[in-house]
């Protein structure tokens, strides 16, 4: 996921009442049944939650271990015969390091030229992004560049909505500026729209700069597990994969009926997933529709990115859990899975709470939980490690990568902190803002891809002829 703009003008939500109710319930429990018993019951409830999520992880790992590899090898059916009009939309803000590689990859996409429109939105960039995009647009008529005025608002959602207003296509496919899609990605994404119930299709994102730092290498492994196991499992077992914000396609009629992307959230992707499901549509996931993106490689950037994801995802839970439970388009199992999916960024908060209770118990404070420490360790380690192991094997990564899993121990700790911080920000009403994810452009085709005036192809010798000029 990427940010496409500056601070959004979203409304500020505060949940002081809910926090006060939680505190009052806790105090009442202390008063009525005692301190130790209250903490013991809380630990028992947490254990049940942890076990439920552990089995969810395990189920995804089992499904991926059984079927994912064969799915990667499965022959594509009808890739050439179905090519509805497609518009590719990209929102950019200050992306001059990566924009050349992205545009180059987009122009190289394998799709009929008369049915493809590429619209790149420059969201009031302050660096050389706009000039680079204009140079590309001048050299290739397939590319349209839309410049937004400073302060246009709405962040990435606003930029995409502006682009959507000017396109005439059946399907829009969204990428982020640091993404370089594989050539066949459009054909693989759009093939699923043959089914009129499909509202959105998600492709698989792969980290391309895992060698940049140990953190980037860890994120590379995390993405393998996230896309080849977790997302795959959601589709295989519940047919409820999530639309992910980049490398994904949406049916324009569905999107317009839903009012476009929601500018009041920082995770417009999860928001759209929920709205598609609640409208009776379906989201599909295609692990063979691949694009390559850049992972952050400093802890500070990682914190900002994950904090934004947690903040937006937690807001989606608050916004949609009631509509999900009331939806007539979702069965009981669907509702349980959807609510668990919405809970995933709350679970690290609960893990932090569980660890706190365990520490208190170690010092003799609090009652004995029903199940004990086992469920927490199962959720924190066994479940994710099962997913990570299957991701590495299905992804056919060389075996030295297994020892990178050690880096997930601090990463789990960091996820507890980011999710807890985001939870508190969300509850006390911190303004949601588009936190721009900084790029490095260290790996990719950006450097070679900048548009160039063609030199001649004649063999020249410096002594007799002027040197060919190659202008940027």
């Amino acid at each position: 996921m990427s940010a496409g703009g500056a601070a959004a003008q979203g409304r500020v939500e505060r949940h002081w009442v809910a926090l006060a109710v939680y505190a009052l319930v806790l105090l009442a429990a202390f008063a009525l049944i005692g301190f130790d018993l209250t903490l013991g019951i809380a630990a028992g409830v947490l254990n049940v939650v942890f076990l439920a999520f552990f089995f969810r992880h395990l189920a995804f790992a089992v499904s991926a271990a059984r079927w994912a590899e064969a799915d990667l090898e499965a022959a594509g059916v009808g890739l050439e015969s179905y090519a509805p009009p497609v518009a590719v939309l990209v929102a950019c803000k200050n992306e001059e390091l990566v924009v050349d590689g992205m545009v180059s990859a987009l122009l190289g996409l394998d799709y009929p030229g008369d049915r493809l429109t590429i619209v790149v939105v420059d969201d009031a960039s302050e660096d050389g992004t706009a000039a680079r995009l204009d140079a590309w647009a001048a050299s290739d008529p397939r590319l349209r560049v839309l410049h937004r005025a400073p302060g246009a608002g709405g962040g990435k959602s606003g930029a995409l909505n502006d682009a959507l207003a000017g396109v005439d296509a059946e399907i829009v496919v969204v990428f982020d500026a640091d993404h370089e899609p594989a050539r066949n990605v459009l054909r693989r994404l759009v093939r699923h729209f043959r089914d009129p119930f499909v509202g959105a299709v998600m492709g698989r994102c792969v980290v391309r700069n895992g060698a940049d730092s140990s953190l980037a290498g860890t994120i590379f492994v995390d993405y393998l597990s996230g896309y080849l196991v977790n997302e795959y499992g959601r589709q295989a077992l519940f047919e409820l994969p999530a639309y992910g914000g980049a490398n994904c396609a949406v049916r324009v009629s569905t999107l317009r009926a839903l009012g476009g992307w929601n500018p009041d959230t920082v995770t417009e992707d999860t928001d759209l997933t929920l709205r598609v499901l609640l409208a009776g549509g379906r989201v599909r996931y295609d692990p063979t529709a691949v694009d390559f993106e850049e992972a952050v490689h400093s802890t500070r950037r990682f914190w900002k990115q994950r904090h934004r994801w947690a903040l937006g995802h937690q807001k989606c839970l608050r916004d949609y859990w009631r509509p999900v439970l009331r939806s007539r388009h979702l069965g009981l199992v669907d509702k349980i899975e959807t609510v668990m999916f919405l809970w995933v960024y709350h679970v690290p908060v609960l893990c932090g709470l569980g660890l706190g209770l365990t520490l208190l118990r170690a010092f003799g404070v609090g009652g004995q939980a029903v199940v004990g420490l086992l469920p927490l360790s199962a959720l924190l380690f066994a479940g994710p490690f099962a997913e990570l192991a299957v991701g590495l094997v299905v992804g056919r990564v060389e075996r030295r990568a297994a020892w990178q899993l050690v880096a997930f121990l601090p990463a789990f700790g960091l996820s507890i902190l980011t999710a807890t911080h985001a939870y508190l920000d969300g509850m006390i009403g911190k303004r949601l803002s588009w936190a721009k994810t900084a790029r490095s452009g260290s790996v990719g085709t950006a450097a070679e891809a900048a548009p160039q005036r063609p030199a001649t192809f004649a063999r020249r010798t410096a002594a007799t002829r002027p040197a060919p000029k190659v202008a940027a």
């Binding site: 395990l58 189920a59 790992a61 089992v62 499904s63 271990a65 590899e69 090898e73 122009l107 190289g108 009929p112 008369d114 290739d140 008529p141 594989a182 066949n184 698989r204 792969v206 980290v207 391309r208 895992g210 060698a211 590379f220 295989a236 077992l237 047919e239 692990p287 063979t288 390559f292 069965g331 199992v333 669907d334 066994a382 490690f385 099962a386 192991a389 299957v390 590495l392 094997v393 992804g395 056919r396 990564v397 060389e398 075996r399 030295r400 990568a401 297994a402 020892w403 990178q404 050690v406 005036r453 063609p454 001649t456 192809f457 004649a458 063999r459 002829r465 002027p466 060919p468 000029k469």
Partner: protein, 681 residues
Amino acid sequence: MSAAVAEGRLVRRIRADRRRPGAIARRRTVLYEIVGAVTWCYGGFLLLVDPARHVEVRLVMLLLTLGGERRVAAPFDDTFLVFGPDGATMLAVLTPSCSALASLLAIGALAVFLLRRRPHALPGLGAAALWVVGANQARLIASLLAGVWYGDGALILFHDWVGALFNFVYTLIGLLILITITMHSAERAEQDRAGRHTANRPDAWARPGLGYRDDGLAAAARPGKYRLISFVHRFLVPAPISRRLGARRERNRVDYRLGHLGPQARANQIAALAAKGLGVHTATLLAVATHETDPVVLDALAAAVAARQWEPVTRPQVTALRLWARAWLMRAPEGSTGDRADGHTVAVTGAGGPAGVAVIRALRAAGHRVLALDASPDAVGLRLASAGEVLPRADEPGYGARLVEIVTTHRPDALVCTVAEEYAALEPLTGTLAGLGCRTWLPDPAASAACLDKVAFAAALHAAGVPHPQTTADPARAAELPGPWIVKPAHGRGSRDVVAVDTAAALAEAMGRVPGAIAQTRLAGREFTADVLVGRDGAMLTCVPRWRDETKAGISVRGTTFDSTAVTSVVAATVRAVGLTGPANVQGFVADAAPLSVNPDAAVTVTVVEVNPRFSGGLPLTLAAGADVVGTYLAGILDPAADLPRLSFDAGVRMARHFSEVYVGADGGAVADPLRLAGTA
């Protein structure tokens, strides 16, 4: 109608069914696995915890005894008697949580229920189990020794706190050992630990998205010279079992063995494997016969099998291989004598035109077998090629069926179209032709249509800002264009019906006479044609401009290649504007050409008149100047993913054309050329 409505409702109801039977079936399968895993862990713990504790106590005692430690005894199956530093005794019970069994069962569950598809999980589990049991023994012994040396407080502290942390760490390491051994080795993996693609296979062989292709990455690691598995198979495993396992391994590894190579290298490797004997790498060869799609590779395999018919059939798989090769060779006719052994069979359409003849001669000169196709049985190219067939015109019924019939008979590897008007008829046939092993590379239909329609072409160039003479198809507005004029058909070719007019009256007359006429301002200056090859990604691979010093019937008979940055730039903008890929020739005028003779970077005025999305009649001059556009185009047809080279050329090469003759007797046979020089072919 009502049936269709009912069907629509049924489909909607099935799709709206919230139960989704497919997902239910998959969930059931996964549920069984999870129940199995829980049973494995929980049941295994209940059943085995006591025996495991007893074994661990005995093992600890054995190790302590071997180490000479006599201050620990085991009076019961699960209890140690520890003599402390001050002679005090303590009883230390090895509780279920002290046993390594829980860790072993968890790691075992991961191996059995998640990773069992990889046989490597079994040795991985063995190694992890050894590690976990050994580490827990070390933990227990260290706890007991702490009690022996420092008393019961130290024993409890070490066991409960240090030991608990130690337990977590060794379980994690055990898990990593299992995962490490189960994962793919460096030479079998498709990506390294940073996510860079290492297998370097062509798209057809690669699984999508396994690693980022980084051109700067070194080749994947190679296996060492001495390997344990070789020793095991050679000396420990019975030969029939080893052979069976080897065959299975080869089947699974065929992509590792060959997949990273290009088509020609794959073909060479298969020939090398077959040369060792069909019975040696039979599984690989059979897997290639089963999965390979490239005709070049399959031809090589069939030829290699055919060359070893003397070999005794020691295994039924060799028979299967021979049967396959027989069927393949019966499908594909042999190349004619005189063609290069490793050449391809290439079909060329438009064999009667100058472009077709030039392509045929270029392909024959490169050693390929050429199947010439033309609508006229008298087309000269039919006599210059290895074989020839008459094909209806593209706008006649039966074109497609006849072409498929010809391709089915001759099995060409590629088809080169030199008649732009055929593209529209060929486009729907590409899938069928590919199924017959005949590859094509056609320009985008919209691009070729824009080139063939001079009105649409003018609009495209105008939209892209490429210099182009003012054009109109409206007779009433023709006179408004600056004169003098050129009148020509909007869909004409080969300079047919092209009229140069100087007066308004002649213009009106010509607009009425020429079918589908357009009028353009006639350009002054020096006329040029640029032969262009554009890669599938839109990058221009070469642009060879030449002066049209003299033309006859629209064909350049004298020309000179020249070098110009301005012309190259405008030509590049032109092909980009219409979105062409493949071969093309761009025609235009340079208004003030004189400065180019001294400075190729001179800022001259260039105007493009038209583009033909095919090879030109003046192609031989481009080839003579050093730009092998035909060979490069053929390479791009045969391997769509090929990284085609940028072609350079020599400026100043001149061409003077003359007529040449081919003679055919009454019976259709060749008649000797009476003017041929002695000693020439």
